[in-house]
Amino acid sequence: MRSHAGSLPAPEFPNPAFVTPVPLAQAKVAIVTSAALHRASDTAFAQNDTSYRSIPREARDLVLGHWSPNFDRAGFTEDLNVVFPIDRLEELATQRVIGSVADRHYSFAGNQPDDLATIIHDSGPAAAAELKADGVDVVLLTPV
């Protein structure tokens, strides 16, 4: 997996954006994960699913819906924060290290079709627009 990954084609982003955030102590922070997490009551991820789910801040009934068999899942079963560090963000907000925790977080499925076309042109920008509408200043991305 690791040895294969470096040879994968990567999409190019000419003139990539680089945003200067507000100070962290004032920032609203959200998590975006590619672990295909979803609430048990929400629609499961299909194979090659290019859509996303929103996860309420208070939700802990999260299912790991990723279709790849190639990574460890036991860590998540033991402690969801190893994938989705929501409790750590709550602690940082209490300590005033970050401004606040966003009310909604977002989840994609990491095993995407190779061209990534939908996530680049459709579902990715849609999730980004929701984050913007939520007033999020900083996103922490966690990969699976």
Partner: protein
């Protein structure tokens, strides 16, 4: 994942991406990346270790001070994946009429139920529920013995989804059955595929389907690629 960083940044939101594979992160060049040489599936490094998780997040957020990008740094701690299997206390098989794998699956049900009660949720249910796991194992045994897939009466139908559910049923139960620490990444995967009867059935069924000539995606993703 790093691709999403570019998209979200373009919407005017600062991002910092954790990355498990530095070569991929360097290719994509997300604005700010903290690479952690941690087991795949554990981007925060260590479960049930809030101090370490805070260290990872703190180093990631420190990258927000950069005035231009892309910036990529590596966490100084390397966490190796496990090469051995977690030690689990298996309940004695009690069902003389059932195969070893089916007896085993029934035997760990109480452990599975305990962890579902404790966590309040289970990731079993992609194609079958926990009640159906023994019947699914029986069908996979038929496949392993040479029954064509279309005649094996596999509950849930989708081979990959069913194997996900069987493995998840076992791996969630293993968190309850473990004698001590759960080990690093893959310790429970190693236990499932190398030490349980069900794991051996999954691998045997997968090989039988490959030999049968069913389409590659139907059998290959029933288990990790390196198996």
């Amino acid at each position: 994942m790093c691709v999403l960083a570019h998209i979200i940044e373009a919407a005017g939101i600062a991002t910092v991406a954790l990355a498990s594979m530095r070569p991929v992160a360097e290719l994509v060049g997300a604005p700010r990346t903290l690479h952690g040489e941690f087991p795949l599936g554990r981007p925060l490094g260590r479960p049930s270790d809030p101090e370490f998780q805070h260290d990872v997040i703190g180093r990631a957020f420190a990258l927000l001070d950069a005035t231009s990008g892309p910036v990529i740094e590596s966490h100084p701690v390397v966490i190796e994946e496990a090469t051995d299997a977690v030690s689990c206390q298996m309940p004695p098989a009690f069902d003389g009429d059932a195969s070893p794998a089916v007896s085993e699956a029934r035997g760990i049900r109480k452990a599975y139920d305990r962890i579902v009660e404790r966590r309040g949720v289970s990731s079993v249910g992609r194609a079958i529920d926990a009640d159906t796991v023994p019947a699914a194992i029986e069908a996979l045994e038929r496949v392993a013995a040479g029954t064509p897939l279309k005649e094996a009466d596999l509950p849930g139908k989708n081979t990959v989804a069913v194997c996900h559910d069987v493995r998840t049923y076992y791996e969630e139960a293993a968190v309850e059955l473990a004698n001590g620490p759960l080990g690093s990444g893959r310790a429970i995967e190693n236990w499932f595929f190398e030490e349980t009867e069900a794991g051996k059935v999954v691998l045997a069924a997968r090989k039988a389907l490959a030999d049968e000539g069913v389409p590659f995606p139907f059998w290959f993703y029933m288990a990790p690629g390196h198996r």
